[in-house]
Symmetry: none
Subunit: 221 residues, 4 copies
DNA sequence: CATGAATGAGTCTTCATTCAT
DNA sequence: TATGAATGAAGACTCATTCAT
């Protein structure tokens, strides 16, 4: 066995630990209010060590961001090749819901620090992805209300991972909450399709979603 | 005639100008990234002058906040005395929509700086008001999904004043956008009531709302 | 009588003291090696106080520089209006010698920190003035050797205020040294004129100049 | 045949490359402003590698310095054994001019970083050599003006390799410039001797220098 | 012969805040 | 009603240097 770091410091994983701690602190107190000193101290290294691994504070954030965009990019790639049906839209929402849950800290951070992020290089990359997904759900030339509904569905899901959760301070399981939010979002886009008379397959309930990625097993009626 | 500031600076209204400029800068670049120096410079006074009018930086924010809560408080008071019908819920949304539009900078700011605001005294006051309105729409003991829908409707409207607008980069009038968002939000709570079998009055359209606060004239079909 | 600062700090003159101390330290240890902390400590204020008076470290240097350029600019202005005779050139050298002596710390600094200064905004301004004076002495289209002589004369004088002085560690009075250097420089330009056959007035020796601004007494008309 | 670096980096010559790159950067931006990171990056090794070859940053500079002092030391040795005639002085200048040209980057660096170098161990060694050469040209007990002339001649040559060159932005070949500067310097010491009535050999032109080190062939009349 | 990882001291600079005037 | 002058604390970042591997 190699010397498994009894020597006071988990070796090698510093870079990853910086990302982890930074995300937690950024999400908790905001990007500007989190100092590199705090991050370094919590990890147990010096500020200078952070600069060995990342060129700037913003760079840490970028690295965190890019850590989580893989699933989203796959979702976009998948979405582009599907037919533009309501069922596709629903499946996108289901998958997006899962991706969101995995990266909930990051999304919460992006949402709650939007004002500051606007001045960062990150901003454009993030915004673009958001826009693309919205377009995947609501066809480019769709009527205003349908497009609003699509974006609203997305934001509902974003809010679902933290803001809405705060309003539900009772004992609501996180998976239960996720599914409830998902169902609401799904319905929004289904409604949009109905109203605008698209090639809506049956849309009575969120039943068909059974295809699975929306969750394990059928959602309770 | 009133002394129309021959001296290049409107005298007397400094306090108000501080609030205005501060809100604009806070909303644009975030609370932490906006320095008192910037505010003072833009107004044309010294930093010290800000301290004549406000005790701390946070105080400026509190003053701004309180400037805009009047209408919301009235809405809450009004809501408390209404019967808990779907129609009431819709009317609350309509009025909330208008209040939001008037205080859009502030709401945008609160939303986009949530992470930083969490550490401020303001936070609780703001959060509570939000919670109360949500409760006005979805009865305390309502089923999970209905409550989610209520909160989602509220967030949809919050997002409507800026985030959604960004996705609608075409030439959509701001009033047109507001009404579209409002309609989507209304439908969310109506749907909730239907599903949960409340004493839903007719919900076909946002017609009854004629009481007026939802907008001028009937919304286009 | 007003309270004449028994209160520990000479009031009002902070800005000037910053310039003085900064120049001394810059000249002694170099621009890069002199930290704002050192300057502040020596004056007895905080680093932040420096930033109340100057926007950046470079700004302090610029202010110092501009303090001393007045006489040089006057010299240039005067020179431009004189006939381009050898006598004018000699008078320029004499006046330049005096200006140099007054600003010797600055010139020494500029000379000994040239490498660093090259990256500063100051550089161009300084270089240009240097060039102009050289041109005043050696006519634009003069033969190579004459121009070299003019520049060399200038550099000899620059070096005279410190580098040459170091080689003369015996007891040579500073005024004695200045005049010796000046005489050498004068001769260089006189020789140049002789060789190139300009309208040299008598150039046998640096005698006539004696009365001039190179020492005490009125400059020749 | 020699292993001509198939591996992208000339191996073995790292030490030399450090010296080269360091001198170039030191001369360009100054000693303090040039970081070991820059040097290492430009070479394509890590900072730590520099420390394999040199003990400190200052050590790199010392090594560079010592690289170039050989010719100067030889010149000094030669000079010491010559009779103290004007002709000797001229020959010293001629040889010095050539040595200077070979080590122009270093001399430029020493001149333009004098303020910083003063705090380095190098300083004394360098200054001493300078002093010795000056003494070789102007006899120990010579009158003030003669000594000033000697030092000025030396500084003129130093300045000649860069500062004067800058004033001559036209197309003046570097050899042409060197010779012009040399001629001016020579004349300074010749004049000194004339005035002070030393055993001046003929001084009409820089002809006798034929020994060659002053340049190839007779200088143009 | 070199690197990966890290450090401690220090850099310039900005900030919210204070207070005598 | 304001300002001029200043401060203490902190910020992000860089540097020369070290050392185990």
């Amino acid at each position: 066995m190699t010397d498994t770091g009894s020597t006071r410091v988990r070796r090698g994983d510093t870079r990853q630990r910086i990302r982890d701690v930074a995300l937690r602190l950024f999400a908790a107190h905001g990007y500007e209010k989190t100092s590199l000193r705090e991050i370094a101290e919590e990890i147990g290294v010096t500020k200078a060590a952070l600069y060995y691994h990342f060129k700037t504070k913003e760079d840490i954030l970028v690295a965190i961001h890019d850590d989580f965009t893989g699933p989203i990019d796959e979702l976009i790639a998948w979405g582009r090749e599907q037919p533009r049906t309501v069922e596709t839209a629903r499946e996108i929402l289901r998958r997006y819901s899962l991706a969101l849950e995995d990266a909930s800290d990051l999304f919460r951070f992006m949402q709650e620090n939007a004002a500051v992020i606007r001045d960062l290089s990150l901003h454009e990359r993030f915004k673009e992805r958001s826009r693309v997904i919205a377009r995947l759900i609501s066809p480019p030339g769709a009527p205003l209300e349908e497009r609003v509904r699509a974006v609203a569905a997305l934001y509902t899901m974003h809010a679902g991972v933290f803001a809405i959760a705060q309003h539900l301070d009772e004992e609501v399981g996180s998976e239960e909450r996720r599914l409830a939010v998902l169902r609401v979002a799904e319905e929004m886009v289904v409604r949009a399709a109905e109203k605008c008379g698209r090639e809506a397959a049956r849309t009575d309930g969120p039943d068909t979603g059974g295809s699975g990625s929306g969750g394990r097993g059928p959602a309770p009626g």
